[in-house]
């Protein structure tokens, strides 16, 4: 009887331990499954951001050559080249993040330049307008994607890219509307027009606005 009692107690203790193990394993398994699903979803969202970056790069390729061939529009060509470099930096960093999430970054060769919009003819002003439209559309689409991104690192990167795309848009918008033009220092300091590829990435301060020194006051 006593043995039977001890045996039952052992069985209960052992069963509880087993239960705890099973429960923990199930919990871990569920968390892992959810994490995998979240990572896959985030990788898909980041690939959409990367695709848009490659599309802009491809469009800029079609615009820059003709702009550079004309002295009157060469400055616009240089500006788009500067912005294109920043889009490439964005695409590369997105690729790294997608890989870290277990996804496969879309290849640049798989992305084609969108068809030129209706009414577009290849002139200097039209090229700036086309670029402004693309930058605005990209920033709006990418902010909207943040509602569905679970990873904080991924969200940080997308926000850092959005903040740069709105800078590109702003400069192009001012030029397209004729509100502003190149300044006295434009030719020698072109890279100061949107000076960094990202707003803030904790792991990459050198390419973030965090590495732009505050301007100083004059007496």
């Amino acid at each position: 009887m006593s043995d039977e009692h001890v045996s039952r107690r052992k069985a209960l203790t052992g069963g509880a331990a087993a239960l705890a193990g099973v429960t923990a394993a199930l919990a871990v398994s569920a968390v892992t499954r959810n994490a995998h699903a979240d990572n896959a979803s985030d990788a898909t969202a980041l690939n959409a951001v990367r695709t848009k970056a490659f599309e802009i790069i491809a469009v800029y390729d079609t615009l820059i050559g003709p702009l550079n061939r004309e002295p009157m529009t060469a400055a616009s060509g240089a500006l788009l080249t500067h912005f294109q470099v920043q889009h490439r930096a964005a695409a590369e960093r997105l690729g790294t993040q997608i890989t870290a999430l277990g996804g496969t970054p879309i290849a640049e060769s798989a992305v084609n330049a969108p068809t030129a919009p209706t009414g577009f003819t290849r002139t200097g002003p039209n090229s700036i307008k086309y670029a402004a439209n693309l930058e605005r559309q990209a920033s709006v689409a990418n902010v909207a994607r943040l509602n569905a991104i679970g990873s904080k690192d991924a969200a940080e990167l997308v926000a850092a890219i959005v903040g740069t795309q709105t800078q590109h848009f702003t400069v192009l918008y001012l030029l397209a509307r004729g509100i502003a033009g190149p300044g006295a220092m434009a030719a020698s300091m072109l890279n100061e027009i949107v000076p960094r590829s990202f707003v803030s990435i904790e792991a990459a301060p050198a390419v973030s606005l965090t590495s732009v020194a505050d301007l100083t006051f004059t007496a």
């Binding site: 069985a11 209960l12 069963g15 087993a18 239960l19 429960t23 919009p117 009414g119 577009f120 039209n126 307008k129 086309y130 439209n133 605005r136 709006v140 902010v143 909207a144 943040l146 509602n147 569905a148 991104i149 904080k152 969200a155 940080e156 997308v158 926000a159 850092a160 959005v162 903040g163 709105t166 800078q167 848009f169 702003t170 400069v171 918008y173 001012l174 509307r177 004729g178 509100i179 502003a180 033009g181 190149p182 300044g183 006295a184 220092m185 072109l190 100061e192 027009i193 949107v194 000076p195 707003v199 803030s200 904790e202 606005l209 732009v212 505050d214 301007l215 100083t216 006051f217 004059t218």
Partner: protein, 224 residues
Amino acid sequence: MTTNKFLSRRALLGGAAVTGSALALQACGDDVGPVVPNPDIPPLNGLLAAEYGAIAAYTAGIPILEMPPTGDPLAANGPALGVIARAWQAQHREHAAQLAATVTAIGGTPVAESSITFTAPTGFTPNVRNVMVLACNAEKAAAIAYNQAVKTMSAASSRYIAANIEGAETQHFVILYTLLKQVVAPNPASLISMINEIAPKAFVVNVGTATNGLSSIADFTYTA
């Protein structure tokens, strides 16, 4: 015997599982722990405080732009910059309203505007250029703060709001920065007539039913 043992273990596991569930439910019913505040409240309130700080800075700077000191080399640009500063200050107020509403919606208490004061930084003397520098540095810092907040926030909806505002702060920054670096110059012929087109929206994506985002700006059309 083997069968019984097996059944017994299965019954034990099944019964224990039911017991465990019952205990878990009981714990939920009887032992209601303290309500944990939404972790996004502090970062959102931090951003709200920064917005109030920006509003206060513009309040201090606008009179200097509108009435520059005698001999200020940029005095002629002051009034136009004053109009732009007022428009951007209004955008910061829109950001603050959005942040305050969000803090309230997730159970927090928004920081009060009256608790934020502006102190001019070291080296600041009142002239048009210095007001532009002050605003440029503040807009850059704000954009970075929003981006850093995105990395700390728990809810995707909070991160969305932060990025939606960050994209407006960077527009303010780049305009001031490029002007101060003289890589972009205003066109006097169109500046005044289109002054409201300079960073015309407070957000990237419209908030609610308002048309206050870049999403409400029509694409440019092309000329032949």
